[in-house]
């Protein structure tokens, strides 16, 4: 509840800054339209925006799910196998360092212009932060717990399951929060590179037609979406972490 209110307050503040920029700098409306104009466009084009937003939401949801899943699995792999660690970590960094934009055109050539390429983009973009954060957590298990587990005759797998993973949950939480913010970008980049639907597509289309107001309406909806996702994930993670130790 408070979080929702905070989100709302933040939105108001953003609006105020935006309006302030308009007043102070009075940029041309084809570069930065006024909030009022964008609001009007948003309302008028609500059906259009809604239709495209649904597609993006769907892609983001799938991307978030699979990206988190793969990230968790990879982090666990890395944490359990020194061999995997040796080879995979630099590759991970490398793969991440190759800008998705650069790979996106090629990916779309392989995967087509359907939903798959966008989901893959979202997965790719959140994969690294999730993996990296969770892995860091898994490698920072307090030594005392590990000693204890060792004397108890635990297998590595069970130590992982009962001690290292629960101890790394706060770090995974940090990773998930990053993922909540990045997944929408991933999907939009995917749409940008090649699509016939989605908010990213709508943005490009509007931009190409010099309909800056419509573009900003789409940008705002995307931003609101990400913000909502972030607030939800943050609230969920915080509450879970608080609850589980009391």
């Amino acid at each position: 509840m408070t979080r929702l209110r905070n989100g709302f307050a933040a939105a108001l503040l953003l609006l105020a800054i935006w309006q302030g920029l308009i007043w102070v700098l009075s940029p041309p409306k084809f570069i930065l339209p006024s909030p009022a104009l964008v609001a009007e466009t948003m309302w008028k084009s609500r059906a259009l925006i809604g239709e495209h937003a649904l597609i993006t939401i769907y892609e983001v949801g799938l991307g978030l799910f699979f990206g988190t899943l793969f990230g968790i699995v990879t982090a666990i792999q890395l944490a359990t196998s020194p061999a995997a660690r040796t080879l995979l970590r630099p590759i991970l960094a490398f793969s991440q360092a190759i800008p998705v934009f650069a790979l996106a055109p090629i990916l779309t050539l392989w995967l087509g212009y359907g939903m798959l390429s966008k989901v893959v983009m979202a997965v790719l973009i959140i994969y690294f932060p999730v993996t990296s954060a969770f892995f860091d957590g898994l490698m920072r298990t307090p030594a005392g717990y590990l000693d204890l587990a060792r004397t108890m005759g635990a297998t590595n797998r069970r130590i992982l399951w009962h001690i290292r993973i629960p101890a790394a949950v706060p770090s995974l939480g940090s990773g998930l929060k990053l993922a909540a913010v990045y997944a929408p970008i991933g999907a939009v980049i995917g749409e940008w590179v090649g699509a016939s639907k989605g908010l990213g597509y709508l943005m490009l289309l509007a931009n190409g037609r010099a309909k800056t107001d419509l573009m900003f309406a789409a940008v705002l909806v995307l931003g609101a979406l990400s913000m909502a996702l972030y607030i939800a994930v943050d609230a969920g993670v915080t509450r879970y972490l608080k609850r589980r130790e009391s």
Binding site: P27, P28, K29, F30, I31, P105, T108, L109, G112, Y113, E191, W192, V193, G194, A195, S196, Y201, L204, L205, A206, N207, G208, R209, A210, K211, T212
Partner: protein, 292 residues
């Protein structure tokens, strides 16, 4: 010297020959100009930035200009770089699409959002098809790759002097439907646009004079001018540019400042009839002759 910034529509390529040659041969300097040439990532941006006064000139596309003016951008065409359409509907040579009428149910890729639907709709209309009969896919900059890899059946927005050569180099033959042969009014593919409220007419006139001189040089010395273009930067020296250079030469506007008012009036009417603009703007809202 007077400093001015020119925003290109895309990375430097043979379409920009007159600018490069003018720079290299010192024609801008002759006109007491110091020209900075900047390439953007998104071709939709330069007109906006020119309208905002961030550059004296931007290179744009005529069909887009009509829309941009209707969207309220303070822009006018002040010169012409390429005076014929370059855009074409591109398919693979062995494609079953033999006429725009065969597009029904196909995927068509495009890159620059804007008037593609209008252009496509116009060339399909004689065949009894509308834009709803095809699936439009934004393929961004992968026009020829998306076609060659079979992800789309055709692309609109390919440049006849460029994508065809590119596909040939990759060993895949392409086939063009020339829009102006499919019932579209002819238009200027690449134009210079500027903000009429901010511009320095004299400076633009001098700029156009320099490019006019460069264009004449290019026509007179096609081989030498290619060498000049190629040697300005190592990344320009490749097979594709060499081929495209030859195909682009005949299309440069020989009189960059000259206005063909009828061409712009016809296109504006065509857009109105296609339902893409709400009204018909008078020609003097769209173009101006800076030498007047």
């Amino acid at each position: 010297a007077d400093k001015m910034t020119v925003l290109l529509d895309w990375f430097i390529n043979p379409d920009h020959g007159p600018l490069i040659v003018a720079e290299e041969l010192g024609y801008f300097a002759e006109q007491n100009l110091e020209v900075e040439i900047v390439a953007p990532a998104d071709p939709a941006d330069p007109p906006k930035l020119a309208a905002a006064g961030k550059a004296e000139l931007a290179i744009g596309y005529q069909p887009q200009l009509h829309l941009q003016i209707h969207e309220g951008l303070p822009l006018k065409r002040v010169g012409t770089l390429v005076a014929t359409p370059l855009n074409c509907l591109l398919v693979l040579n062995d494609s079953p699409i033999k006429s725009p009428g065969d597009l029904k149910g196909k995927k068509v890729g495009f890159s620059v959002a804007g008037v593609e639907e209008a252009l496509l709709g116009a060339i399909m209309a004689p065949h009894g098809l509308t834009i709803d009969d095809i699936e439009l896919v934004n393929v961004n900059w992968s026009l020829s790759p998306s076609l060659m890899s079979g992800q789309v059946d055709a692309v609109i927005g390919a440049f006849r002097n460029f994508e065809l050569n590119q596909m040939e180099i990759e060993g895949v033959d392409g086939r063009c439907f020339y829009l102006e042969e499919e019932g579209l009014p002819s238009y200027d593919e690449l134009i210079y646009v500027a903000n009429p409220d901010l511009m320095d007419k004299d400076m633009i006139a001098r700029f156009l004079a320099a490019t006019e001189k460069a264009t004449q040089y290019i026509i007179n010395h096609p081989r030498k001018s290619w060498l000049i273009f190629r040697d300005t930067s190592p990344e320009l020296n490749d097979e594709l540019n060499a081929k495209a250079w030859v195909d682009t030469l005949p299309r440069f506007a020989l009189r960059p400042a000259a206005v063909d008012a009828g061409r712009y009036a016809r296109f504006e009417t065509f857009l109105k009839d296609a339902g893409l603009v709400p009204s018909v703007n008078p020609v003097d809202m769209i173009v101006m002759d800076v030498t007047e």
